[in-house]
């Protein structure tokens, strides 16, 4: 399985840059010092070396060739894509897997065209593109062995056990949750195995694949998974896979639309969250109810100190004497 390219590459287009794109352009190596603000620019005396380059340029996916670490071997967290990735191009899932993810997440957050849920928000697209980066690890993860194995009862398996020929950290099943994420599997492997288990459980209990079942039957399967009562799941367990699906549904539904979910900001409209705003006033803080229509990163006002941030608030000037009053 080769590393998919990061879904954060800047598209090569002649279009006028959005606010977000401008930010990335300014962060290029050459542009950095020029744009680096008053402190360096004003003095010219202090020395700043090793300036940052955007992560989009640094993840090569190459294997380590030296004993000393270089940054590229450990990708940082990717930036939000400038435009949402296309929903009709799959970078990881097979079409059947994508449909199954869509059906599963649509039972976690059900919807209709009038009252959008996970399907309408594009959650399967969000998860597919998440899997496209660094084996699905969008968050840097420590991946050094040995990994943990769990045991039940009071004592770990004895030293004569065949599994003890390998370095293993034995942890009681009751204690393992305290240690957080300890999976040997990558998120890609978790999804591939978990989806297979969902279908085999669906076939075993209801006679067909998950996507072909009625909503009631699908709910019963999710219910059994959430309670850890669904059979045939090994690694990930039914409960863990349900939790993973729910977490990713939440992240896709309520993250910025740039990531491929939360299409038309339907997640934010559902709960009354205005998204990426520049400012609120003390008056806003104490006025119950929506005070702004929702806004995504791409819609955000470009940041030029001193300009109006929206109809109410001026962005004050940082590094100068100037500040405009609110309202």
């Amino acid at each position: 399985m080769s590393d998919e390219k990061i879904p954060t590459e800047k598209p090569q287009s002649e279009e006028k840059p959005t606010g977000h794109e401008v930010t990335l352009l300014l962060m290029s190596r050459r542009g950095f010092l020029r744009a680096a603000g008053f402190a360096v620019a004003a003095t010219g005396l202090g020395v700043v070396t090793g300036c940052d380059t955007p992560p989009a340029e640094e993840s090569t996916g190459a294997l380590p060739t030296e004993t000393v670490p270089v940054r590229a071997q450990y990708p940082e967290v990717p930036y939000a894509p400038i435009v949402p990735p296309p929903a009709d191009v799959l970078v990881f899932f097979s079409p059947h897997e994508a449909q199954t993810v869509e059906a599963l997440t649509a039972r976690i957050l059900p919807g209709t065209p009038d009252d959008p849920g996970a399907r309408e928000a594009g959650i399967a697209n969000y998860i597919d593109k998440l899997m496209g980066f660094n084996e699905g690890f969008a968050e840097p993860t420590y991946r050094q062995a040995p990994y943990a194995q769990t045991y039940e009862g009071d004592t770990p398996p004895d030293q004569a056990s065949p599994s003890n020929q390998y370095q293993t950290v034995w942890v009681s099943k009751d204690e393992i949750d305290r240690y957080g994420f300890q999976s040997l599997l990558t998120p890609r492997e978790i999804y591939r195995a978990g989806l297979k288990s969902v279908d085999s459980f669906a076939n075993q209990t209801a006679g067909s694949n998950f996507v072909d079942l009625s909503e009631d039957q699908q709910d019963q399967i999710l219910e059994a998974m959430s309670k850890g009562e669904a059979s045939g799941f090994d690694n990930p367990s039914a409960k863990d896979f349900f939790a993973r699906l729910r977490d990713d549904t939440i992240n896709g539904m309520f993250a910025d639309p740039a990531y491929g979910g939360n299409r038309d900001m339907v997640g934010w409209k559902l709960i009354g969250y205005p998204g990426a705003q520049r400012a609120y006033t003390p008056h806003d803080i104490h006025t119950e109810g929506p005070v702004r229509p929702p806004q995504s990163l791409a819609m955000m006002h470009q940041f030029h100190p001193g300009q109006l941030a929206n109809s109410h608030v001026a962005v004050p000037v940082s590094g100068t004497e100037e500040q405009r009053p609110e309202h």
Partner: protein, 589 residues
Amino acid sequence: MAIQKKVDVVTVGAGWTAAIFAQILTEGGYNVLSIEQGPMRWANPDFKHNHDPLRYHIRHAMMVNLGRETWSWRPNPKAPTLPMRQYGSFNPGQGVGGAAIHWSGMNWRFLESDFNYRTHYIERYGENKLPAGNRIQDWPVTYKELEPYYDRFEYDIGVSGQTGNLNGVILEGGNPFEAPRSRPYPLPPLEVTIPSVIYADACRELGYHPFPQPAGILSQAYQDRWGNVRSGCLYCGFCTRYGCEVDAKSMPVNTHIPPALRTGRYEIRAHSKVIRVNLGPGGRATGVTYIDEQGQEQEQPADVVLLSGFTFTNVRMLLLSRSDDHPNGIGNDQGLVGKNYTYQHWHGVSTGLFEGRRFNLYMGNTSTQNVIFDFQADVFDHSDLDFVGGGMLFSTLGERDPLASVGSLPVTDEGGKNWGQGWKDYLRQNWDSVATIVFQGESLPYEDQFLDLDPVYKAADGQPLLRLTFDWHQNDYNMYRFIAQRADEIMKQMGPTRQKTTKELDPYNIHKYQSTHPTGGAIMGTDPGNSVTNKYGQVWDTPNVFVTGAALYPQNPGVNPTGTLAPLAYMAAEAIRDRFFRNPDRILV
């Protein structure tokens, strides 16, 4: 390995204490070099388009890259150890400014009794009051000694707050339990959230003393003594775990770093990671070795080495830097490095659902709220209680983004179904109708609670990870139970539709975020028999190595540590500037 040009002082990392040292020492004519593992960054352009909770909050974009280095943990010396593979309990930062870029700005002074903890409790309650197996000890510095430095730091960065005790006079609306301050806060407090107003009313009805959270966030525009001019807070809702795009949040890059750079005697080398302190004849430090951006090892000679990284970094560097004179690491000739590791309690204790209300909790920040100190430290009588210490109770914090909050709904004791149409409808109606009372409390040192090098797991630099051995003790469970009852009563008084209180403390786990306040491990004290450093952070057995930050704390009080580690850095930096170089092998007194 290339040898770089010698400097007067080299610092590990370019966080806040390094920046404070750089400002004070370059002003005194010394050359300072900071070697920082992360990137260079300024408000503009680096933070100007960062309102992306998935990247910054959920995926921890500003934190140390765990792919390269993490920390391993076990609950006690007999339990198995595993590395923290993804973020949970704490969030150390990487990059210029360190964790003081993504901090929440909560800025406190410790109480007078926090500095003479052991003496205070024994005098008031007798020796037996302190829990078994504790390593509690007095600080080698008093509040009174530190007050001028607290004052200067607060005016240098522009702290917003309501003064409660001005030269011993208690003032209405502030914290009546705070230690006396010589000047009022430089700026008025920040605005607070709607539930914080309800909370303050409920607290007053119950006889408590609510006051607004003091913050290292400007409530209005401010010009500091170096000429930095910064905006007041815009309450945008993207604060903790983000850099501030308008410089309203006080950060090293908008306070101490610009004047240090302006002297021409300060350099920051970004994307470069120190891997050890080098030792020479007589056990003195000769500089550091680091890996540069290209992966090449470099040697950096210096007269003084300042360990000014995060708590864990400083302790790990001490343990990794060895020679015949220091076979167990710098500062560890008496085996005290890693001892007195402490943490802090941070728990959402009681949650109330207020049906029909919309609280706008996505606005503001973690400091836009009210607090009570009525159960902090020893301000309340512990005679009839089965624990020592305490903590504060926060009203509901701002900057509540959906990604970090919808997962924990609904508010019910029965564990209501958290998926499906019913859940969706619940989120629609109630997502922004929830108030939470948060407890932040002190953590004490024990014999079976410490830091050392992991025997199995390694970082990308090929050297061992730092291992944490830590769990809550009986004093913690008892303290939590008492505090949770108070929080439950306050929430009841606030009048929610439905209420859920976690009445008992769970054993420590490393997967849930609980504050980036790990402290101790290289503690300061009065002599080499009880500590690793003196009150200036000067290592007893290696006098040209200094440690800064919360690693110096003998035990951790129930408030955020930043407000005190900065004044300690002022005091130490001035001592080095004015006295150390005259006689560099001497321990400062």
